[in-house]
């Protein structure tokens, strides 16, 4: 729940209104210029009409230099950013040869496996030489190697389920698995702030989709009761199956899911639980096994566990873990398994080695150190930011912390000022977040040292004063002033 002060809401609306009016002016002049110069489309309809890409052309392009910044080194705690220049007012950007070394607070490098690692990289190079970068075939047509089978076993053991299946890309895992599990006649109840891949998968499945308020188990129960009593729309037949989709850590809020309550409710009403642990696997929990371990939920109670390897393991791909029958059925019916090239063998080896390091099976205690460090770093950074008066979202222990910006002008200001001071941050605005609630999202890594974090805090404090995003008074214990605020969700 984010409360936005009245004055800020008003100024944000005013800014967006002004940008909209200016955009319309420019569109009007563009139309005149086009008519004057004559169109060269020769009878083909234009690719984008009218207001379809208005937001992209008139708002996003103005601040395009804050997004898509290319790097020239691995996305580790310090990264080499390639500087870009624009000769036509941000419409196109060209790379220069200049490089600036910046502190990286934007990459999902939770356990520090992004750069070459002393245990993982030699093994990856060995498997590259043995299996080559790609198998050039789908899993069922000769693309399964012994490495893939080993990977699936290791992942299943790590997560705590009998079996697992691995795909080459995390986004596709959600979009391709949900249609295979549930179809027309089924009901999907998903959290209101779920990621785009889950929303796409739910829509593509053909089932009826209902939404429950973000992280509120009471509302989930209410929706479940209503829907079971009512049945399918129009025919009122009973639902074939009900699936509840939640995430472990919500990437835009940094909050943990209220998993024990939700699992209890789903057990009571016999609904299936699908947990997407993209950001939480490997990053939280005492041994890195994710949100189930942290909140004390038995993995046998969650029917389907899904996760990605891009974040904590420094590789690529996604997995689904469940019972042996479920995985057998997935291998038979999931299109991403039957038609897509299998995951690259060196990437698979990276995941296996990373999991071995986390579990301590490589003979060192680096894994446990990394886990302890990321927890310490996240808690330290969050408490310091709150002391300075920033509005920081998210729960304790979560390595994702969004800092609220609200006004559209503060988005590029924050990004560019931090870049001048050698800190690289990620800012997010509409459409990934609601229109008024633009934020900067900070991802802490286990490879950040205490000095790095202190430097980042100094820069944030300076930039925060300059821009004016310290919405709370800077005090040791957080105090929220309730008068004169508008509640927004």
């Amino acid at each position: 729940m984010i409360t936005i002060p009245y004055l800020t809401a008003l100024t944000t609306y005013f800014s967006y209104g002004l940008l909209f009016v200016f955009g319309q002016f420019r569109d009007f002049f563009r139309k005149i210029a086009d008519w004057w110069l004559g169109s060269n489309l020769q009878g083909y309809a234009p690719i984008c009409l009218g207001l379809e890409d208005f937001y992209t052309r008139r708002l996003y392009l103005r601040i395009q230099d804050c997004f898509g910044r290319p790097i020239a080194s691995p996305p580790d705690s310090w990264v080499d950013l390639v500087e870009r220049v624009s000769k036509d007012n941000n419409k196109t950007l060209q790379r220069t040869a200049k490089i600036s070394r910046c502190l990286n607070l934007g990459s999902y490098n939770y356990l520090g496996f992004a750069a070459a690692d002393e245990y993982c990289t030699p093994r990856v190079i060995e498997s590259l030489k043995r299996f080559s970068p790609s198998t050039c075939s789908t899993r069922v047509d000769g693309g399964t190697t012994t490495l893939h089978n080993e990977l699936e076993e290791v992942v299943a053991n790590f997560v705590g389920k009998p079996a697992a299946i691995v795909f080459g890309m995390g986004y596709v895992t959600n979009s391709a698995v949900l249609p295979a599990l549930i179809g027309k006649g089924g009901l999907i109840i998903s959290d209101s702030l779920n990621h785009n891949s889950i929303v796409n998968g739910a829509r593509g499945s053909g089932a009826t989709v209902r939404v429950f308020q973000h992280n509120m188990p009471d509302h989930l129960e209410k929706v479940l009761r209503e829907q079971i009593a009512e049945g399918q729309p129009r025919t009122h037949r009973p639902w074939k199956k009900i699936m509840v989709l939640v995430e472990g850590i919500y990437s835009m809020e940094g909050e943990l899911c209220k998993l024990p309550e939700i699992v209890a409710i789903c057990k009571k009403y016999r609904a299936y639980v699908y947990l997407d642990e993209a950001h939480s696997i490997g990053a939280i929990g005492k041994t890195g096994r994710g949100v189930c371990e942290l909140l004390g939920v038995d993995t046998a109670d969650v029917d389907i566990l899904m996760g990605t390897f891009t974040k904590s393991f420094g590789s690529c791909g996604g997995y689904i873990a469940g019972s042996k029958e479920l995985i057998q059925y997935m291998k038979y019916s999931c299109p991403a398994h039957l038609y897509a090239t299998s995951i690259s063998p060196p990437a698979a080896q990276q995941i296996i080695s990373a999991i071995r390091v986390i579990l301590g099976e490589d003979g060192t205690s680096r894994g446990a150190q990394k886990l302890a460090r990321i927890r310490e770093n996240s808690n330290f950074f969050r408490s310091e930011l709150q002391k300075m008066g920033f509005e920081v979202l998210g729960d304790n222990d979560s390595p994702v912390m969004p800092v609220m910006l609200y006004n559209p002008a503060k988005i590029p200001a924050f990004s560019r000022e931090c870049l001048k001071n050698q800190v690289a941050v990620v800012t997010v605005a509409f459409p990934a977040t609601p229109l008024l609630l633009a934020r900067a999202r900070i991802c802490i890594s286990a490879s950040h040292t205490r000095e790095d974090l202190i430097k980042a805090l100094e820069v944030f404090s300076k930039v925060g004063d300059l821009i004016g995003i310290k919405y709370f008074p800077a005090e040791p214990d957080k105090q929220q002033q309730d008068d004169g605020r508008v509640k927004l969700e």
């Binding site: 996305p75 050039c136 420094g314």
Partner: protein
């Protein structure tokens, strides 16, 4: 008989006139002459008001009580999550023990590999392995972020420029997964209300993309140009307001499911006649067809700027993972912005 009825009628009307002209009925109130008929009218008004004030009959609404909802929830039993496992679901593909080159090891025996799409034999090539090893040591394995948030490495941009130069197009975009190239490219250009004419035999990813785009899709017979011409004719006739309607033809260069090659020069002729844009999937022809491997455009001697969008999954001849989308300048601009902002 008639006279008796007439007499009765006359008597009744006389009586009525008398009643209306009775003394009490000739009151003068406030200077207005009130006749007896006013009483009948007043009575009628009272009856009307009475009827209007009655509530219309609605069956009473009875929402389900908590107890009833509890009972329904207790009774409801879901289907099992997955259907029963049959024997053919238990098939396990053979596990390779070495690279998927022309010869590979399965269970210790060397076999000849006719299953991998390793068309140019680049699996296991020395130069590739060297380059990959160098970049692994420099960059690690993953990019730890999407392209918009510090996941764009300079080698990505170099690769895009190189592919565009190879194919002869202004620019290109890389995707990280071959399957998702087509089913992301199609919804980026085709929205609800657009018309797509696609071949019947296109593979699953394209079919999925067509479904996701929510446009009107018309299929023509597999690789049959006559059928394509008929469909284009039909669609153009049906949609006279063609100015604002975007129209696409979707074909594959070499069909994954049947192995046939699409006659590109025919298709380009038809496209220019009927003003459609062409979306060509060159997954199985990039690096294979044409004297220098540039694909179907070179093979059929069609200039590449006549094709609007070319996509290719790189997991075939190029022996790597991912996909690429390229085309003429306007198309790539739109795709870049849409996908970067998405």
């Amino acid at each position: 008989m008639a006279s008796v009825a007439m007499d009765m009628l006359k008597a009744a009307s006389d009586w009525l006139t008398f009643a209306f002209d009775a003394p009490f009925a000739r009151a003068v109130v406030f200077g207005v002459n009130i006749g007896g008929h006013l009483f009948v009218e007043g009575l009628l008004v009272v009856v009307i008001i009475f009827l209007l004030s009655q509530k219309s009959y609605k069956p009473p609404k009875r929402p389900l009580t908590k107890k009833e909802i509890d009972e329904l929830c207790d009774e409801w039993a879901p289907e099992p999550l997955i259907p029963k496992i049959t024997d053919d679901m238990k098939y396990e593909p053979p596990a390779l023990e070495s690279a998927a080159g022309p010869h590979t090891l399965i269970n210790g025996t060397e076999v000849i590999n006719f299953a991998s799409a390793n068309y140019l034999g680049l699996v296991g090539h020395g130069k590739l392995l060297e380059a990959c090893t160098r970049s692994l040591e420099k960059y690690g394995v993953g990019s730890c972020g999407p392209r918009g948030f510090y996941g764009t490495i300079d080698v990505h941009l170099d690769c895009e420029a190189r592919i565009a130069k190879f194919l002869g197009t202004p620019d290109s975009i890389l995707y990280s997964y071959g399957l998702s190239t087509m089913f992301s490219a199609i919804p980026a250009f085709c929205k609800k209300g657009d018309v797509i004419v696609a071949d019947e035999g296109v593979h699953w990813a394209i079919q999925n993309g067509l479904q996701l785009s929510r446009s009107t899709v018309v299929y023509f017979k597999h690789n049959d140009m006559e059928s394509l011409r008929n469909m284009l004719e039909k669609v153009t006739q049906e949609n006279k307001r063609a100015k604002k309607l975007r129209r696409y033809i979707v074909v594959e260069a070499v069909y994954q499911n049947s192995g046939q090659i699409a006659p590109l020069d025919e298709i380009v002729r038809l496209k220019e006649k009927y003003r459609f844009r062409v979306l060509l999937d060159e997954s199985n022809s990039l690096g294979v067809l044409g004297s220098t491997g540039r694909g179907l455009t070179e093979y059929c001697k069609v200039p590449v700027d006549k094709i609007d969008i070319i996509t290719a999954a790189m997991g075939h001849a190029l022996a790597t993972e991912g996909g690429v989308c390229t085309g003429n300048a306007r198309v790539i601009d739109h795709q870049y912005i849409f996908w970067a902002a998405a």
